[in-house]
Assembly symmetry: D2
Homo-oligomer: 319 residues x 4
């Protein structure tokens, strides 16, 4: 029954073997459901919007390259999406080749530009005279070695040998041993995942105008409520140079009073705000909050205000 299948399908940047697939493998509710491999972020989110898939896994940021612009811009411009989960994947690369190839044979390397950039130091050191052929995905680069001889080797995730009969010429060739990519699982707008105590809230907001200090005013909406930002990225609005919107991750869940209050302040300040969701953090680190920004402080303040508006006596400071 197609409808049932659609409502259970998960889209991801394929083919099988990509880091995105490794992220999707971390999602318990996706286990045993149909997974749909797509070619880019736009297709993955189109699947979600059209109902072809229940959710899509997309890369949002990595340690080396920073924010994934295509993902950030897609979330800013496609309505009715919600981030419902966050996943981390260690980024590690191997150099693979057709069976029988040696390192000395390698003249052209097929690689996705991001993977190529992240292995630059190793490649320069060991293959100083190589050429680079760009690929659309890490796995496609490896797979193409078996289809044509445009390249002699490919840069791919270590899991690539599970899918393709290739020789590994070198392992751990990434420049940064701590490299990680952060992925988010995106669904249509839906009820929020519950508060876990280790949550993140993602928003995108524009400034009211370009006057000096506007960004500062926007950030004060968070600071005066004790809300920490774990990400601030600027993306061009696209109509003219110098006009940006800001992609922001906040510590905490919109069910936390201080986050809800900060969003109210932001909504009043900013002419355009998109709420992308509140969801559990991948690192499961608990958020520490100064007592005066805890939920109870908000409830107490509202009780106090309600009382004084209705004419209840105040206490004074005493002598």
């Amino acid at each position: 029954m197609p409808d049932t299948a659609a409502s259970e399908t998960y889209s991801y940047l394929g083919p099988a073997g990509t880091f995105t697939e490794a992220a999707l493998a971390q999602v318990p509710q996706a286990a045993g459901k149909p997974w749909r491999s797509v070619n880019n972020v736009g297709q993955a989110l189109d699947d979600v919007v059209s109902g072809r898939s229940v959710a899509a896994m997309i890369a949002i940021e990595n340690t080396v390259d920073g924010g994934v612009s295509a993902s950030q811009d897609a979330l800013a411009t496609i309505p009715n999406l919600r981030i419902v989960g966050e996943y981390l994947v260690d980024v590690n690369f191997v150099l693979v080749a057709r069976p029988g190839t040696t390192l000395a044979d390698v003249k052209t390397i097929n690689a996705h530009p991001v993977a190529y950039g992240q292995t630059h130091l190793w490649v320069e050191a060991h293959l100083p005279h190589h050429g680079h052929l760009p690929a659309t995905s890490n796995v496609a680069a490896a797979a193409s070695l078996l289809e044509n001889d445009l390249a002699d080797a490919a840069i791919a995730p270590p899991t690539i040998t599970r899918h393709h009969d290739l020789d590994v010429l070198a392992t751990n060739i990434g420049d940064n041993p701590n490299a990680q990519t952060r992925f988010v699982l995106v669904s249509r707008t839906t009820a929020l995942p519950g508060r876990t105590g280790s949550d993140k809230t993602s928003i995108i907001a524009e400034l009211p105008d370009n006057r000096a200090g506007r960004l500062l005013e926007m950030l004060e909406q968070f600071a005066t409520r004790g809300v920490n930002m774990s990400l601030l990225a600027s993306r061009p609005i696209g109509d003219a140079l110098g006009r940006y919107r800001f992609v922001i991750d906040l510590d905490g869940h919109v069910h936390d009073e201080r986050v809800a209050d900060a969003l109210l302040g932001l909504k009043r300040f900013s002419p355009n705000v998109i709420f992308l969701g509140s969801y559990p953090r991948a690192d499961k680190l608990p958020i520490t909050v100064t007592p005066r920004y805890e939920n109870e402080a908000f409830t107490d303040a509202r009780d106090w205000l309600r009382g004084l508006i209705s004419g209840e006596p105040d206490e004074g400071f005493g002598r």
Copy 2:
């Protein structure tokens, strides 16, 4: 019937003829009711607390001397009081003496220290060799001329000749032609006067601790909601030098969303806040508010937040 009378009596710093009486004369609901003359601010507020009077008129600030400490401290320490109105009185002084006295006869001047301070330039210029006898009120100074001869002249409000048979030796002797005193009418805690669009909200607040930048953090609670302060005065808490509480007047009424929200923020930030009331401004100047701090912005933001928590779709920025 004493109870009825008590509930209709107004206390003020007397005797008849003081600037405080002139302020009370501006209160329509006090017309035709019993007025009770007292000797100081403490007595006036005790009358209100004990139910002897329905309200008390007290001076809170003047152009020359600044905040009236006794009034500010009484409002900070006596619980269950509310400011329900604000009144301005032009401050103007005359020099009066027993009939037959000339300026040349004046050797000692009886005057309340504040009045004496506000006429310092004139007195130095015209009576360089005078002595000063302090009095408890401007009117008491004048009245005492007819009771004893400790002084030859007194500094008093122009209306003094309505009450006492004295000669005016000089008029307009105040150093500052724009001098005004601001008075507030104080009742027990009661329902708030309605919002008029030209209102003031008075509070007193303490800082959580003495760390650098704390006052700045407190003031940001107002700034991030577009709430202007018309008064910020510091008063010693009294337990040690260097510890202060702050007496603050805000533009707007607690029924204005931005003021209510700023008070919530202040309540969470400050370990001790006293709300003294929202009441019509004496100068009746309308408060101008940036659109993003208008009530509608607050209502819209709450509707938006409620929608997104319940899972309503967002719109995105469009392409």
Copy 3:
């Protein structure tokens, strides 16, 4: 020789026995020099301006009443003055009377209004039916008991019996056992006292206009340089209600780079700034400074800026 004497004379609010005299007794360089008793702050500062005295001791703030308005306003309006030292005096009161008087005989109390205010609780409890006769100084109140019988007792400092033959009816009658008054020694503008590491800098500043958030902007000049404020008091400018100047004490000496830099920022921001001096703190507490606001950070930054303007290479972050 009068000139020599003048250049060595110290003025203070007298007569002998006042708390101000106790403050002056703490000044080593005043020991053995002529002391001149005056009647008010204005006279004390006039002595300094005219050269009659080398310096004047004036009360600037006390734990109970807060800032001494007359002193703050005199420092704001009289040019060419400098605060060169700060002194603390514990404030303690006794009730004195003519020999032979008992507490039961006391009907009228002579007292300076500030002393009267600071003993209010004791007086109300023990002499509920008394009258109050205001005096110009604590000592004058006591001395007048021996000159006339307008009052039966006086509130005075404990040292009063060294100067006058009076009976002590009660001791420690102050409401606040921690009460202190802070005094400053004021000279004509002169070279600054050296930096001791426990210093204070006093200024008075006006805001450029009454727009919302202006005070916040001014305070940020201190906060962005890590300069702590130990005092912020507002004083009316005097031309209209709602216009204030601010009396500010900063932790640190103008020879501290962060204080000098904050003053530069303040001078650019404020249309009117008065520098009242940098001088050793009475409490001798050392000022703790975050490393990034230490002198070295300022010197390093200037060296760096000078280098990059002249074209010296930068280092980059390294890989």
Copy 4:
């Protein structure tokens, strides 16, 4: 003589016909000098560092994609570089093919990923079933059509037909009619270009730690000096997710006092700051500055501070 040539050579992302070449064509001093075409930003800057070229033109930001990460990261990590000029190029694309090809023949498009992304709407609408072959530059994509038949058409700048014998199948196929790319000309560290009144200053800075509000504190260094930011981009430091450095463009020249002072503040605040240069803005728009942040305000403040430290009299506010 190679040395002479080296010191006159300009490197740019080639081959001939790229937008980068169009940017270099705007540089008067590069006219008639050798231009060296390289394959990526790293090579271009290596040329500068090694002395092979006197300067390199690199793309730094575009309206649609935002900051060019490779350029921003290279400027952060390669020492001894200075931006000396800024240039804007309108971004416009055509679809080209081997002579004789029609739109209906196009199955595979060769295009640099950025160009492909910027023409996505047109391509989806007119060639819904196409495949994409990534290229290393727009011009390389077009040139390869004449070398092999892996693709049927290429996306290239309008000037491509000057260099290659290709048919234009469609013009103005960019999604954004206002698209522009901003380029910077980078040399080794050298004396600064003079102040023109329409200048920009570029820096890269890290925060002292990850405490809440740190970014806000950093931005206040600019706000308290009236310095406007025209760009704030975050780039991962690379050692762990969640750690960023900030690429910042400020309005004004380091020879403007307010910019120099803001850099001093930033240097003290930030553990790592790189100054990338002050240079004329491409748009030649004059910077408007509030009078209190003009050079004169800084000079006046320094004169005032110097005077008061040396003991010159202050003026007071007058009465």
